[in-house]
Symmetry: C2
Subunit: 235 residues, 2 copies
């Protein structure tokens, strides 16, 4: 916190990968429901379609589309490659809702509880409000408020999202801290004047594709997990 | 529930008067801070400006304005009549934030906890997200999601608000129930196909102006308070 004299009032959390383990949750569910499918590869393929789909929306090739619907488009496109082209509508709907059933990393419940005692804690995710609400309710995540790209009509890293959090809470941008496991997200936030905290999630893409989470100099806070962040912030 | 075969999935709550006691909270704080002022009359005067101010926004006389800012406009207009024209900017800012410090009615915490065990519970208030978040955090209200006129760009009873809740949660309108202590709000919701529950809050305007809360036939559910609603809904 050397470069900032003031603690933030609001902590805004990225969700997929930072708070919940999308890879492990999806790989486990696929493995249990369709044992003939490689769950690890399926999770990676599904997620690999995520950024390109959002870019098509932001480029105007697609109208504004909720993440639930983008997930479904990507799902439909990858099913044949995994020998699941025969899945019926009801099975596809149910499978697509796995994104509402992602499990949090083990430090999250205690970490958020401690951080909530001192800060306003909210989501800032490209996930839509329904997805974020159902996921958070199932996992008992104690948000003070759920904010989403859906509220701002733009996906991160669009400045309307980061600036939007500050505007919603009536504080200057430097009183908001984005907490995320992705450098591009944090850079977008810093460009809007937010404070940032990087969270190490070396297993975000599974054990077969370990992420480099080593600290990068002079770029906001760096914490091992949310418990470490709570300790560094004095909670 | 005789007229509906299916229980709702989502309960959306009006806030001012239904969940929190704006009159008592404001009268108490005014009485404590400015003992020379009639807190009861002050609370009523402040709230009396609320509907007319929102109507000016919806009629296009004012641009889209957050409730925090409408509250401030009304506050500035009523201060002279209560001998408080001399209040400085910092005092006005602090006083305006009393709307972030409203106390819930005594049944609310237990009632919401029970309802949350079975339904998605969210706010649907004309209050802005910051107001609702700070109020809910202070009072430990366990919302699954905070929705506001601010998200929909329209104040209740505009159909975009009631219909917006169903759209956000991806359910048909009849799977959403609006819970409110005001018949006009409930009528707006029913016109959009929502289920409704009226909550008796006979003291919403204080003991000097007791509200008629007697049941009206064939107009959705009627509950004494949130504990009674929870019991009627089987929680």
């Amino acid at each position: 916190m050397a470069q900032h004299t003031h603690a933030p009032q609001v902590l805004a959390f990225d969700i997929f990968g930072t708070v919940v383990d999308w890879h492990g949750s999806i790989a486990r569910e696929i493995g249990a429901t369709y044992p003939q499918v490689d769950g690890d590869a399926f999770a990676l393929a599904w997620r690999a379609g995520y950024q390109p789909a959002m870019r098509r929306v932001m480029a105007g090739e697609l109208p504004w589309t909720l993440i639930d619907d983008l997930h479904r488009m990507i799902l439909d496109s990858i099913l044949p490659g995994f020998g699941l082209a025969h899945l019926e509508e009801a099975e596809r709907v149910e499978l697509n809702r796995v994104w509402h059933r992602l499990d949090p990393w083990p430090d999250v419940l205690e970490g958020l509880g401690r951080l909530k005692s001192r800060f306003v804690i909210c989501t800032l995710s490209n996930g839509n409000l329904n997805l974020l609400t159902r996921l958070s309710k199932r996992a008992a995540l104690p948000w003070d408020c759920i904010l989403s790209a859906e509220v701002f009509g733009a996906y991160k890293p669009d400045p309307r999202t980061y600036g939007g959090v500050a505007r919603v809470f009536g504080v200057p941008p430097e009183q908001v801290m984005l907490v995320a496991a992705h450098h591009d997200d944090l850079e977008g936030a810093r460009a809007c004047g937010l404070q940032t905290a990087y969270i190490e999630r070396s297993l975000e893409f599974g054990a077969g594709q370990v992420k480099d989470v080593s600290p990068r100099a002079l770029k906001g806070m760096h914490a091992r997990d949310l418990l470490d962040l709570a300790q560094q912030l004095g909670c």
